[in-house]
Symmetry: C2
Subunit: 402 residues, 2 copies
Amino acid sequence: MARVEAIKAVERSLRVVEERERVVRAWAHLNPDRARAEAVEADRRGGGPLRGLVLGVKDIFDTSDQPTECGTAIFAGRRPRADASAVALLRAAGAVCLGKTVTSELAFFHPGPTTNPHRATHTPGGSSMGSAAAVACGMADIALGTQTAASVIRPASYCGVYGFKPTFGNVSIAGVKPFAPSLDTVGWFARTPELLDLVRVCLTGRPPMTPLASPPRIGVLRTEQWRESAPETRAAVTDLAGRLRTAGAPVCDVAQPDFLDALADDHPIVMAYEAARALAWEHRAHRDRLSPQLRDLLDSGKATDPREYDRARARRDVARTREAELFRDADVLITPAVAGEAPEGLASTGDPRFARLWTLLGLPSISIPVATGPTGLPVGVQLIARTGRDAALLATAVWAGL
Amino acid sequence: MARVEAIKAVERSLRVVEERERVVRAWAHLNPDRARAEAVEADRRGGGPLRGLVLGVKDIFDTSDQPTECGTAIFAGRRPRADASAVALLRAAGAVCLGKTVTSELAFFHPGPTTNPHRATHTPGGSSMGSAAAVACGMADIALGTQTAASVIRPASYCGVYGFKPTFGNVSIAGVKPFAPSLDTVGWFARTPELLDLVRVCLTGRPPMTPLASPPRIGVLRTEQWRESAPETRAAVTDLAGRLRTAGAPVCDVAQPDFLDALADDHPIVMAYEAARALAWEHRAHRDRLSPQLRDLLDSGKATDPREYDRARARRDVARTREAELFRDADVLITPAVAGEAPEGLASTGDPRFARLWTLLGLPSISIPVATGPTGLPVGVQLIARTGRDAALLATAVWAGL
């Protein structure tokens, strides 16, 4: 793929920043001169599969040359010594890091200042809000985020970009601020599934996706949240299923298996218990600097009976062994990514329930921007594949875009 | 349990430091005045289940008030902002952190300066070398370490202390420098199993162990390393089995199941692949400051075919589902912890093969100091229990000490 020089790409991004950032507020830290110097150096080195691509990095990934403040005053001015694994690997592949993108407080729910690039009075979703917004308006080509509940799938859907969460454990989380380690997953955003795949290859050393040999079997999964989703979401799922059928894919309905019913309530238990331990220092030493939402979560996690946590984990482990039942008739499931269009207001980042089940199960998932809601905001649809079928899922997203 | 004031405990530890540290070299960072101030503050606050206990912390755990250099010049002078989860939780429980203990380079094999407290010309084992040595000579009551291959079990055995590795995932690793995230496990050292259990309770919020209601069923497992172990190790295992039988425990031989044979070779594959990604920044930006050993490991991990890694992980996942077969006739397995006494010389930290299979499987394990080798150095024996049976394993160690 012929690509522009890194410095030209950075200048182009900086022009968009100049135009849009005052309203969008996607960046926690951005130093144009540092970014230009990195681009010049990347051009001097030459090569790399990500050459000429501008990268945004959620501000919970450590960076050796920029602050990493995790969306909280507790870490104001914090300067890590090393790059997080994902940052180092993407830079090694030729990407230039433009800066750090806004995260909600410690990647939980309390939002940062970012607005939805499609309408500034609406949330961009969270917690990877700056990364999704930066890609949506062309300030970055690719951007790193993380998902512990719905923090990639939801902002991707609200901002109208592709967002990908790989199989749990397939991408190193080293150098990323932990929240709930058995759930925390590195994910990323781009404007095409091809770019998502290129990033995956650089992060894992795995082969690139190959075009599907035959149309994928599609299963439409109406989870219990189906009834709670807005008409635009249900229409988006149904329309996409129709289009895929027209394109030749066998489409069936998949009923939510019993063993998934209980799991929906297990995610918050696992998250709270683990967060109370992972953030033990913040909880104790900086209680008064936490948002009430996060403080409540950590209090509740600290008080969680470990047996309740163990039971939730055990149900998850059982569900993982029964994954095949969910994919008996389908290679890929399609299901809502979010309740509907991005809600109005910036005080909340929206409802995480549509993605967290898949985070708990560790399955690869992608939000693809397929529809527009009644007020003109984007609506994504979530596609989910079996453990390890990350490349096939991305190839399906490519196929679905035809 | 009546305990001394923290300040008295710290002064007592500092006297041992004064006496022994010049030769043992267990500490990477130690500031007596800071430790005294922390003790005074702990006494002022009062209470806590770990009150009056002095804690050593392996120098790959972040500390908010002390450098964290990870045993490499790459991180010289590094000052984290926060305490790692385990440090915060133990401090909250009343422990006073005396300082940071020596780790081998980034918790891999290249040793730090620590010597074996029982004979300074011999290795204390690694990578948690300073923590094991500090506990062994009474400079600390409890000390944190980590195990990715054998880094708790081996130094515990060489230094003649108890070392415990909990079930994978049961103790938060947040704030610890990652090496191979699907293997990295927080562990700790103490001079009694009762103290080990107290630490476990503080780190997990789980109930304390209870005395065994009946003697445990013991299985003697002679792995393929049995033939490669020294006579003192085989004697230690056999003698302990005999003593437990005399004390009333049903003792049987357990054959190593077939599905474990391949696994022994899978650990290094998983470790190298994951380390090359977790340490991507160090590998690229500081290649010339890595030891040749670590550089070779990262080179080999970077070149590892991801399919080979996936196959190793898949075999591990299968083995985990077959765990029950290993414990059909036994509640607890006993097996060598190390090849034999601590080898002479400080250039190597010894053979990790006796523990790494159990790290790969994520099972709780403990090294108990039960014997003395032909030259008078300690020899430990390793006890292993099923996933989640951490409290029962520690209760067995208590029972075995009777």
